[in-house]
Symmetry: C2
Subunit: 178 residues, 2 copies
DNA sequence: CAAAAAGTGTCCATTTTTTAGACACTATGC
DNA sequence: GCATAGTGTCTAAAAAATGGACACTTTTTG
């Protein structure tokens, strides 16, 4: 295992004390720990720095703690960097917010107070998971399997929905062992 | 809009009163509402009936309410029916459980007590979302985009990871407008 | 800094895949 | 029982992928 396995992490939280704690906790795992106290300039930051993962707090507007801010910035970041994994963190454990965060593309959802070891483990898991990308053939095989499942075995219909001919679907099924 | 847009829903909950309430609430939207009080025979049930969606309670073992049962059955069902959408429902709002449920492939996560209109809307959303499946070309374009993003624009590396030649990747990028 | 290494963009001829169209056969529904 | 829809397989022609090559540009690194 090389030391530089986990690159740069960007932490966004409006509480300086929490940033300090996280910097300390994460510096052992990540090559660099960048921090921001407000998400407003995060897109500029991301275009300047090469970041492997973002740890994003959900609440910024003082007194408004429903996570709308966090969801907004999550979506903004994902729109411009769809491959960049984002882990959410919040003090206000809210099932609905967690569900919306994950459905909006967050990789995980952490609640404060956090356990340092567990946090590091989860962040590592996220980066490990995103590193393995499938070949086109593997992707194709999975998608074909899904299409056929969804068409209850109707090859003609599946082929139509996949945008290929029935004969080609037969070929691919044989070649890809579907 | 045809009446039969939303097919058969299978509801699994160990509380008869809740099943009755759900049957009433869902019968207006779904053609059929099947119910079970224990998940033990769900796989048998699914092989006999054609079900469009499963609504699965998370807690079955009396006194043990950490949702382990629900997660187990969620994974068991998904293993055999990867295309079947499953919505989780639980009385014990638990962020961690919700996160694990969604990461295990659940389509949504509902907490009791639920709002009937919101429940129906969420279930409809799940079925509407799963109905549009992409063509192979669309799938390919997305996957290629991801690979190139992840390789920071290195075409040679992206092609290798995709399992195709560099020239083929150029061809596909031109054809698919990536 | 300069050489070496790696990547780019574009050719080629050959092989493989996809295509439209056809065929006889088998379910399924009314 | 007849019609409609789907199956599995076959052609010949069109399209795409392949390994290999090329001159050129960028990146690494001793």
């Amino acid at each position: 295992m090389q030391k530089d396995k986990y690159g740069t992490i960007l932490v966004i939280d409006d509480n300086e004390a929490i940033l300090t704690a996280l910097r300390y906790c994460l510096s052992g795992t990540f090559q660099r720990v960048l921090t921001m106290t407000a998400p407003d300039s995060v897109l500029k930051k991301l275009s300047q720095e090469e970041v492997s993962l973002v740890l994003l707090d959900m609440n910024f507007s003082l007194g408004v703690n429903n996570g709308q801010d966090g969801l907004f910035w999550l979506r903004a970041i994902r729109k411009h960097h769809p491959e960049l994994p984002i882990v959410l963190i919040t003090a206000y454990a809210d099932v609905n917010l967690a569900v919306r965060g994950l459905k909006s593309g967050a990789s995980d959802f952490i609640t404060k107070p956090w356990d340092n070891d567990e946090l590091v483990r989860k962040l590592k898991d996220v980066l490990d998971a995103q590193n393995d990308l499938a070949t086109l053939d593997e992707m194709e095989a999975e998608h074909i399997q899904r299409a056929i499942d969804r068409c209850h075995g109707n090859v003609k219909l599946a082929a139509e929905q996949l945008g290929i001919t029935r004969q080609t679907l037969y070929n691919k099924m044989k070649k890809l062992d579907v």
